[in-house]
Symmetry: C2
Subunit: 373 residues, 2 copies
């Protein structure tokens, strides 16, 4: 039987380009321009930068019923509970995501988050009593234990607990905070950043990135941030091309010698994504890293994107078991918005970071890049 | 026992940035600036654009002993033999790669390639006699069967045979040829492109791309090709920013209505990559698509990257079963070069394509972008 249903996902370019034009013209940043613009999402940081410390933990706590998945693209990942987020496995709800410094040692922070959730009887139910739960807390770490703080001072369960308890829906603190505390960005100080977009159909998509990348976020020839071209509206209007003198000085300083790698990302949306759809959003979000960082996804990078979908805004045809053309179009918009939010979050991470441990911030390295108003 | 071997892969930023600077300064395009710069690689096209046809097939024939793998990132892939290229499976040598138009129907072209190889007793040996072989011919297709040629006229086994028999180490024909014959690039005519780089250590990395993407290769605001910024030396010096008038006209024409998707890529290198390493190179190469095309890796895209490693140039420590720091550094350079070669191949595909079936080429759409010398 020939199938002629208009719900088949054969997309037309007019629709794609019109939707893109409409999205570009009518999309806007959320009120906080960060992950908390997705209703119910809370973000908490804990960090130490005193007494030999320069590391921390960020916990993202979604509302009940949030579905999550992940895509790992780095060649040197440090993760836990990512197999449980595979589209083929049992669990589809996520109770918190824990990002940390401390290399794989920092995975211990997730245990503190699990304890907090278990005390509240929040988790995957595994027995007849309400406290019999296993909280699903996917986690990933970045490598900040050489060339910054003391090698032996790294996040443990107490960091996860403190970050969880600090979680709030207030605007996300950015820069040298949480998992970004010890982060670098090529030859600059990195950190934690976030960004959001509200699409014309009302769906919110946001990203949070803890940036510790080995690749460059800056075009060394011009001093411009690769990702700044992807700003929404006047988002990066305060950043201009730096002077040739600043660029030359920056290139001359390229002989630092401390290792770094990895960008840890959480994308969140209020759309009603399935676990498989959330996985696909994670996959597309890595394109946002490629546009902000060159090179990226190297062998020593642990780049990972978690995607959380809070299920509050239904996309089309969520009751249909196969994808309809309308849902494909809406999902593609979420995927593209997620990738762009990741790019913008990386830029915010770099712009918000402050010089530390001998690593200059972007504006300290390129003072002429700050537009004087 | 504490391990202090200097072969552990802890990379330092000085090494990375110095290597990057050296690569940028001392890398150069191969003599053909295409896939055939990897010694022993032959490329053949067959296409038809007469009498209702607008499609074709491209076959890449590597030298004996070539190891291959793949990474599929599109949401709507059309492939065969990709599972055999998983790093965990038996086969690691690839005898040819077959790229076609024709959507999944075009996978039939690979059967013609298999026949050609089997006639020459080339393949994975499966029996006591020399003709008892199974040629390994991974294949992927793009969607060019609506809005271009006739829906029912698509590549079959004869296309694979003809493309195989046309394979040569001469410079690769580009534009509306082979698998790129019916390809589009957003609102422009797409096609087939290729590019290469010779790294300072003598390793050659090259890419070939059949471009039929739904995302834009052009920044609609400026008319500039996203990927042109990644040109090596004066590679794209003949392309300049088009006039505001051309840009306005191009934006007004954005109401075409024919579907397209997918970029099919082959990366090739003469390095002695294992199957796992070739898989990792494929993964990184998708970053090259992200930099050339926005958005990419959507649900209706079948984006796929095959990587072929001809084993002629040994990287460091190939005899060591775990990765040494030297080998990691060299692999990362191959990965970054592969991604950039993909970006550049996409640009060549777009610049080489000629207007067809009502789809304008880049220079027909933006005539002012061609530098008058």
């Amino acid at each position: 039987m020939r199938q002629t249903s208009p719900s088949q996902p054969h997309l037309h370019y007019r629709e794609i380009t019109m939707a893109m034009k409409a999205n570009e013209a009518r999309a806007h940043r959320g009120s906080n321009n960060d992950l908390t613009d997705v209703a119910g999402i809370r973000v908490g940081h804990y960090q130490r930068s005193d007494d030999g410390w320069l590391t921390g933990t960020t916990v993202v706590v979604p509302p009940p019923g949030t579905v999550g998945s992940v895509d790992v693209r780095g060649g040197g990942p440090s993760t836990r509970e990512t197999d449980a987020l595979s589209p083929t496995t049992l669990v589809d709800q996520v109770h918190a995501v824990c990002l940390s410094g401390g290399s794989s040692y920092g995975l211990a922070a997730a245990s503190g988050v699990m304890d907090c959730l278990a005390e509240r009887s929040i988790g995957f139910p595994v027995g007849p009593e309400s406290h019999m739960v296993v909280p699903i807390v996917p986690a990933a770490c970045l490598f900040d234990i050489v060339g910054r703080g003391n090698f032996h001072q790294r996040p443990d369960a107490s960091f996860g607990r403190a970050a969880f308890e600090a979680a709030t829906s207030q605007p996300v603190a950015q820069g040298n905070v949480g998992a970004g505390t010890g982060g670098l960005a090529g030859f600059l100080k990195g950190g934690l950043g976030s960004a959001s977009v509200v699409l014309p159909n009302g769906v919110t998509v946001a990203a949070l990135a803890a940036v510790n990348c080995g690749g460059n976020v800056v075009n060394l020839a011009t001093g411009e941030l690769y990702g700044a071209a992807f700003g929404l509206g006047d988002e990066f209007a305060h950043v201009v091309a730096p002077s040739p003198e600043d660029c030359a000085r920056a290139r001359d300083a390229l002989d630092e010698s401390r290792p770094r790698n990895t960008v840890l990302v959480v994308v969140a949306t209020d759309a009603d994504l399935t676990k498989s759809e959330a996985c696909r959003v994670s996959m597309a979000a890595h394109d946002g890293l490629a546009r902000a960082i060159t090179p990226v996804h190297c062998l020593t990078d642990g780049d990972v994107v978690f995607t959380l979908a809070t299920q509050q805004v239904p996309l089309s045809d969520g009751h249909v078991r196969s994808l309809s053309a309308d849902r494909v179009r809406e999902l593609d918009a979420v995927m593209a918005a997620g990738a762009n939010a990741v790019t913008r979050a990386v830029v915010h991470a770099v712009l918000s970071a402050t010089s530390a441990a001998g690593w200059p911030s972007y504006f300290d390295r390129y003072p002429s890049a700050l537009r004087v108003l």
